[in-house]
C-alpha cells in the first residue's frame, strides 16, 4: 500500500479545490438547517415521536451527504478520471489498484465526517439538537452506509461509457431518491403512496438506520436495513470490481 497516505491526502486537497462538490458536501446541509429550521423550528412533535424537526434532520442530512458523494461525486470523478486518462497514468506506476480504491474511499469517508461535523455543529448551535445514541455505533453505521452508497457510485462509473453518461445516471438515481427517501424531507409528512415507494430506495434504509441509532436504538432493531444495505454493498462492489475499467 505504498503511496496510500500521499494519495489520500492529495485526493482530499483536490476535493476541497472543487467548489461545487465541496459546497454540496459541506455547505448545503447546514444551509438546509437554516432554511427548514426557520420554517419549522425544533419543537417536539408527536409526528416524529416526540423529537423536533431539526433533531431528526441531523441523521437525515448525513444520509443526504452520503448520497451526494456516493451517487454524484464518486461516479463523476471516477468516470472523469478514466475519460481524461488520469487512471491510465496511475496504472503506469507500481501503485496497486487496491491502493487507489482505498484512498478514494478514505477521502470520501473523511469528507462525509467533515460534512457531518459542520452539520451537527450548526444544528447544535442553533437548535441544541438531541443525540441519544452511541457515537461508535453511529460512526460504524455511517461507514457501512457510506461504503454501500460508494459501491453504487463505482458501479455507475464502471458501467457508464463516459463521464457525461455517468453524471446523468447518477443524477437520475439521486435526485428522486433525495426527495423520496426522507433524506431531505421527513417521510412522515409524505403521502402513503410515496412512503410505499420509499421502501424500495436504498437511501431510505440509510435514513432509517442512522435515525434509529442516533436516538439510541440497537442494531437488532434494524436488521432489515442491515440486510438490504449489506446486500447492495456486496452485489454493488462485486459488480463494480467485475466491470471496472482503467481506460
Amino acid at each position: 500500500m505504498r503511496g496510500l497516505k500521499q494519495l489520500t491526502v492529495m485526493n482530499f486537497k483536490l476535493y476541497l479545490r472543487e467548489p461545487i462538490a465541496t459546497f454540496f458536501t459541506l455547505a448545503f446541509p447546514p444551509l438546509l438547517v437554516l432554511l427548514f429550521g426557520a420554517m419549522y423550528g425544533n419543537d417536539p412533535s408527536q409526528l416524529y415521536g416526540g423529537y423536533g424537526t431539526m433533531d431528526i434532520t441531523m441523521s437525515a442530512y448525513t444520509a443526504l451527504i452520503l448520497g451526494t458523494i456516493g451517487l454524484l461525486g464518486v461516479p463523476i470523478t471516477t468516470s472523469g478520471y478514466r475519460e481524461q486518462g488520469v487512471l491510465r497514468r496511475f496504472r503506469a506506476t507500481p501503485m496497486r489498484p487496491l491502493t487507489y480504491i482505498v484512498a478514494d474511499l478514505l477521502t470520501n469517508l473523511v469528507m462525509t465526517l467533515l460534512g457531518m461535523i459542520i452539520l451537527i455543529g450548526v444544528g447544535w448551535a442553533l437548535y441544541k439538537v438531541r443525540f441519544e445514541g452511541q457515537v461508535l455505533s453511529v460512526f460504524v453505521a455511517v461507514v457501512f452506509s457510506g461504503l454501500t452508497m460508494f459501491s453504487i457510485g463505482y458501479l455507475i462509473a464502471s458501467l457508464a461509457p463516459g463521464a457525461r453518461t455517468a453524471q446523468v445516471i447518477g443524477m437520475v438515481i439521486f435526485y428522486p431518491m433525495m426527495f423520496l427517501s426522507g433524506a431531505s424531507i421527513p417521510l412522515e409528512v409524505m403521502p402513503e403512496g410515496v412512503r410505499r415507494i420509499a421502501d424500495f430506495l436504498p437511501l431510505t434504509h440509510v435514513v432509517t438506520l442512522l435515525r434509529g441509532l442516533w436516538f439510541g436504538e440497537g442494531w437488532g432493531e434494524h436488521l432489515t436495513e442491515v440486510v438490504v444495505l449489506g446486500g447492495i454493498l456486496v452485489v454493488g462492489a462485486g459488480l463494480a470490481a467485475r466491470f471496472f475499467r482503467w481506460e
Binding site: R2, G3, K5, Q6, L7, M10, K13, L14, R17, E18, Y81, Q84, G85, V86, R88, R89, R91, A92, T93, P94, M95, R96
Partner: protein
C-alpha cells in the same frame, strides 16, 4: 551488448484488425531505440505490450528477462513511462504531482532537480490545467523519470510541440541516454528518428519494414545524392561530366542540379568548379533521408 527488451513474434488483434503482426526485435542497454511509422502502424500497441499495460495475443515480451504482463509491479519500479494519451487531475499542482508519483516508488529522484532540468521549476505551484501543451508534456517526462528508471518509454514524445521545443526535447533524451538509461521511443516524425535514435525500427501496418541505424538504412538505399547550385554566367560546357562520382547534370538557366553517388561527392564537384574558375552561389547538398527510405520500402509517402 546486454539485451534489456526482447520481443518475439508479438501479435495483437483488436476485434478483427491485426494491429501488430509477428513483430520480433531486441533493444540493447543504453541505446536510444526508436520505432517509427505512420499513425495506426501499431507503435503504441507494441510499446504498451512491452510496458505490461496490454497483453499480447501471441508471442512473448521479455523486459529485464521477465514477462512484464505477469510481474507488473516489480517491472514498474524499474521503468519510466510517458503515455501518448494521459492526464492528471486538473487542479493538482506540478510540485504535488511530483511528490505524489514519487511516493509510489521505492527509488526516487530529486524532484526539484528534475523540474529544474525540464524548465518547470517556476511552475512548481501552477495547476496542471494552467500548463501549456509543452509544459504538460515536460511534466509527464519528469514523472517518467521520478523513479530513476533503467528503461524509459516515450510514446510520441514531441507530438504537439513546436520545432524549438522539439529540439530541446531531443537534447534531453540524449542526456537521459548518456546517464546510462535505455530509451525506447515512438514517433511519426522521420526526422526525429533520424537525428535522435541510435537504431530505428520502421513499422508499417503492424509489420517490421526495416531495423538498423539511421545511417545504414539511408545508405542501404544507394540513392543518388544531389548538389544544387546557382552558376550565373557559367559556360555551356561544365567540367563536371567527366568526374566519376557524377551521374548526370540537370540545367535550367543559372540553376544546376548535379546527381551523383559516393561517400565524398560534394568535394570533387567543388574542386572541379574552382579549378575552372567558375563562381557558384547557393551551394546546397541534398541527402536522402528516412522519409525516402520509408517511401522506397513501402511505396507510400510517410507524410500522406
Amino acid at each position: 551488448m546486454t539485451v534489456v527488451i526482447e520481443v518475439v513474434g508479438l501479435r495483437k488483434i483488436y476485434s478483427d484488425v491485426v494491429a501488430v503482426d509477428d513483430v520480433s526485435f531486441e533493444v540493447r542497454k543504453g541505446e536510444i531505440f526508436g520505432m517509427v511509422g505512420p499513425n495506426g502502424a501499431g507503435k503504441t500497441t507494441t510499446i504498451e505490450c512491452i510496458e505490461g499495460l496490454r497483453q499480447p495475443d501471441n508471442g512473448r515480451v521479455n523486459l529485464f528477462g521477465v514477462d512484464p504482463g505477469q510481474t507488473r509491479s516489480a517491472i514498474a519500479e524499474r521503468i519510466g513511462i510517458q503515455l501518448q494519451d494521459s492526464s492528471l487531475p486538473t487542479r493538482i499542482r506540478v510540485g504535488e504531482a511530483m511528490s505524489l508519483f514519487g511516493s509510489f516508488y521505492a527509488r526516487q529522484a530529486d524532484s526539484g532537480e528534475l523540474l529544474e532540468r525540464l524548465g518547470l521549476i517556476e511552475k512548481r505551484s501552477a495547476s496542471f490545467s494552467n500548463l501549456s501543451g509543452g509544459q504538460k508534456q515536460r511534466l509527464f517526462i519528469a514523472l517518467a523519470l521520478i523513479n530513476q528508471p533503467e528503461v524509459v518509454f516515450f510514446d510520441e514524445l514531441t507530438t504537439g510541440l513546436d520545432p524549438q521545443a522539439r529540439r530541446a526535447m531531443w537534447d534531453l533524451v540524449r542526456q537521459i541516454r548518456d546517464e546510462g538509461r535505455t530509451v525506447f521511443l515512438t514517433t511519426h516524425f522521420m526526422e526525429e528518428a533520424e537525428r535522435l535514435c541510435d537504431r530505428v525500427l520502421i513499422l508499417d501496418d503492424g509489420k517490421i519494414v526495416a531495423l538498423d541505424t539511421p545511417e545504414a538504412l539511408i545508405s542501404s538505399l544507394e540513392m543518388e545524392k544531389r548538389i544544387v547550385l546557382t552558376l550565373p554566367g557559367a559556360p555551356e560546357k561544365l567540367p563536371l561530366s567527366d568526374l566519376p562520382q557524377v551521374d548526370r547534370i540537370e540545367r535550367s538557366g543559372d540553376r544546376i542540379v548535379v546527381y551523383g553517388h559516393g561517400e565524398r561527392f560534394a568535394g570533387p564537384v567543388i574542386t572541379a568548379l574552382e579549378h575552372a574558375g567558375i563562381d557558384f552561389l547557393d551551394l546546397r547538398t541534398e541527402q536522402p533521408n528516412l522519409d525516402d527510405v520509408f517511401l522506397a520500402l513501402t511505396g507510400r509517402d510517410m507524410r500522406e
